[in-house]
């Protein structure tokens, strides 16, 4: 499996989609801090926004940066779908499957390499959070203090998990559709619209009697987990429960991908 991971990291490193994905994630956090800083410098441009400067300081960078998880996970889903789907359209899956590793080893190696990429995205988000918060603190002449190491580690873990759920969903869809365009489309429609509508519908049935079902959706759990860093209300979903549900989603998407690659003909 190490050889498959090595091969995948080699090709990911040079792949434009992976580089653009990483750059967009960095840009998201930079824009977040940039807007906050602009509102501090020019309060008149958005007088109603009432920016909370405390959230922009280094002590709170984990809380602030995890707020980028939502859009970043969409990017992780798109890159995952592109990776898996284009393996079919370029015929590179056939090349991989006719080398030395078996099908399941190939799938495992590929997903492992992709999870390293989502770890890199999580690190980029936090690194941009550090950089942005230091700029704000320096501009405000505010003393720099950092969150506890355990909180930074938890923030990294939460971001990695949320991005990995979306990434493995993208890989599963790319494998299912055997081409990138349909996989990206289906993933975005599900993640950004369909899931929200379904959750809203289910949560409204019989005065919320089926809320427990709505709480099983990945979007609800991702939000609950990332919001927990800011101390915001997370409803019925505790961070611990969110982690378990999200891990289950990763396992389901990985198993679905492995089953598809194992059972279907590679054409």
């Amino acid at each position: 499996m190490i050889s498959v991971i090595k091969a995948d990291l080699r090709k990911h490193w040079r792949r434009p989609a992976f580089r653009v994905g990483a750059a967009l994630v960095a840009l998201l956090v930079a824009v977040n801090y940039g807007i906050g800083l602009a509102e501090l410098i020019w309060p008149s441009i958005a007088p109603q926004s009432g920016v909370d400067v405390d959230i922009l300081y280094p002590a709170n960078f984990v809380n602030n940066a995890t707020g980028a998880a939502g859009l970043s996970s969409a990017i992780a889903m798109i890159v995952g779908a592109l990776m898996a789907g284009s393996d079919y359209s370029w015929g590179t899956l056939k090349t991989a499957l006719t080398q030395r590793a078996g099908r399941l080893t190939t799938v495992a190696g590929r997903i492992a390499a992709y999870l390293l990429y989502t770890a890199l995205l999580a690190l980029i988000i936090l690194a941009m959070g550090v950089a942005g918060s230091v700029v704000v603190a320096t501009y405000q002449s505010h003393p720099i203090s950092w969150p506890a190491a355990i909180d930074i580690a938890k923030g990294f873990g939460a971001l990695w998990l949320v991005l990995s759920v979306s990434g493995t969903l993208g890989i599963a869809l790319g494998t299912l559709f055997r081409q990138p365009a349909a996989a990206v489309g289906a993933g975005l429609i599900y993640g950004l619209a369909l899931q929200v509508l379904i959750v809203r519908f289910i949560a409204g049935i019989n005065d919320g009697q089926l809320k427990w079902l709505a709480n099983l959706f990945e979007g609800e759990n991702s939000q609950a987990l990332t919001r927990s860093f800011g101390g915001a209300a997370t409803g019925d979903i505790t961070p611990e429960r969110a982690v378990l549900v999200l891990l289950a989603y990763v396992a389901i998407y990985v198993a679905a991908t492995a089953a598809l690659v194992r059972q279907r003909d590679a054409t």
């Binding site: 050889s3 090709k11 078996g102």
Partner: protein, 302 residues
């Protein structure tokens, strides 16, 4: 060439859905050290068979042993190099980087990448992105990837597809070179001249069935005599009387006889005695093309 079998199939069958029978009970054997041509018209089932041999698709029925293992088994794959259909590479990587990715997957030292680039004469253009390659360069890179493992069995699916005449000649030369020694080459093609030039043995597949498997010489070697004579009906009657109805066929205004050329004197004498005017009487050698059309029931130009 040795009599050790490198590829052996029994009743290999592939159905797509309930209606399409792509490969029907194919029993083929490829021996170590030979260049085996897998001949058939487009859609005959060549690529589907080769895909089954490398484990990309699973047979509906039947068995296959490839390099001593079941198709797709890692131990077998380690001894097989293949180029099935179009070469599958990443367009944003250079030719060299693509080979390095394949080398990583195959657990091969990167030094071998430079060696295979030399073999396929792509070293000077290996830095260019695969997406910018011509069809010929893509095919050669595909062969280079297939050679990375220095495989004992090389499976090439229509490697001259899309190449211009010069590219085809270069590819044939390359296949002849890599097919020397103990290495076995299984080559699919619908180009008969190519197979006749390169291969030791051939298997002819038509409508999913293997209709013939033999050496090229054996396939071409059925001796015969061609007779042009007038009136042709009378000539046919004389020859049928001499050799039996199975041995005489009428084709393009001539009579083809399945018999040894030494009988030409007897044939000439009998025809003259019967009052037939003989305008042409000669041994004929069938081309692979003729044999192919006869075996597959296909017509040239159809």
């Amino acid at each position: 060439m040795q009599n050790i079998t490198v590829v052996e199939t029994h009743g290999l069958t592939k159905r797509f859905g309930s209606r399409v029978l792509a490969v029907d009970s194919v029993a083929m054997s490829v021996r170590r050290g030979e260049v085996y041509g897998f001949l058939g018209p487009n859609g005959a089932g060549k690529t589907t068979t080769l895909r089954m041999l490398v484990g990309l698709i699973r047979p509906t029925a039947g068995t296959a042993t490839v390099a001593g293992h079941a198709p797709g088994a890692p131990a077998g794959l380690a001894r097989i190099g293949s180029l099935i259909e179009a070469p599958g590479f990443f367009p944003y990587l250079s030719g060299r980087e693509n080979l390095r990715v394949v080398a990583d997957l195959a657990e091969i030292d990167h030094k071998r990448v430079e060696q295979v680039l030399e073999i396929v004469e792509l070293s000077s253009r290996a830095h260019r992105k695969f997406g910018t390659y011509s069809t010929g360069m893509k095919q050669r890179l595909g062969v280079a990837a297939a050679l990375l493992k220095d495989p004992e069995l090389l499976i090439l699916d229509e490697p001259t597809n899309g190449l211009d005449p010069q590219g085809m000649a270069e590819m044939r030369r390359l296949i002849k070179e890599v097919g020397q020694g103990d290495r076995t080459v299984l080559l699919s093609s619908h180009l008969l001249g190519e197979v006749e030039q390169i291969c030791d043995r051939v298997g002819v597949i038509s409508n999913g069935r293997l209709v013939k498997q033999s050496s090229v010489q054996e396939l071409l070697g059925e001796e015969g005599v061609l007779v042009r004579a007038q009136p042709i009906d009378q000539a046919e009657a004389v020859l049928t009387r001499m050799f039996g109805p199975q041995a005489v066929t009428r084709q393009d205004g001539a009579l083809h006889l399945k018999t040894k050329p030494e009988h030409a004197v007897d044939i000439n004498r009998e025809l003259i005695v019967a009052g037939v005017t003989v305008s042409e009487l000669r041994p004929f050698e069938r081309s692979l093309e003729e044999v192919f059309f006869q075996l597959t029931g296909e017509r040239q130009g159809s």
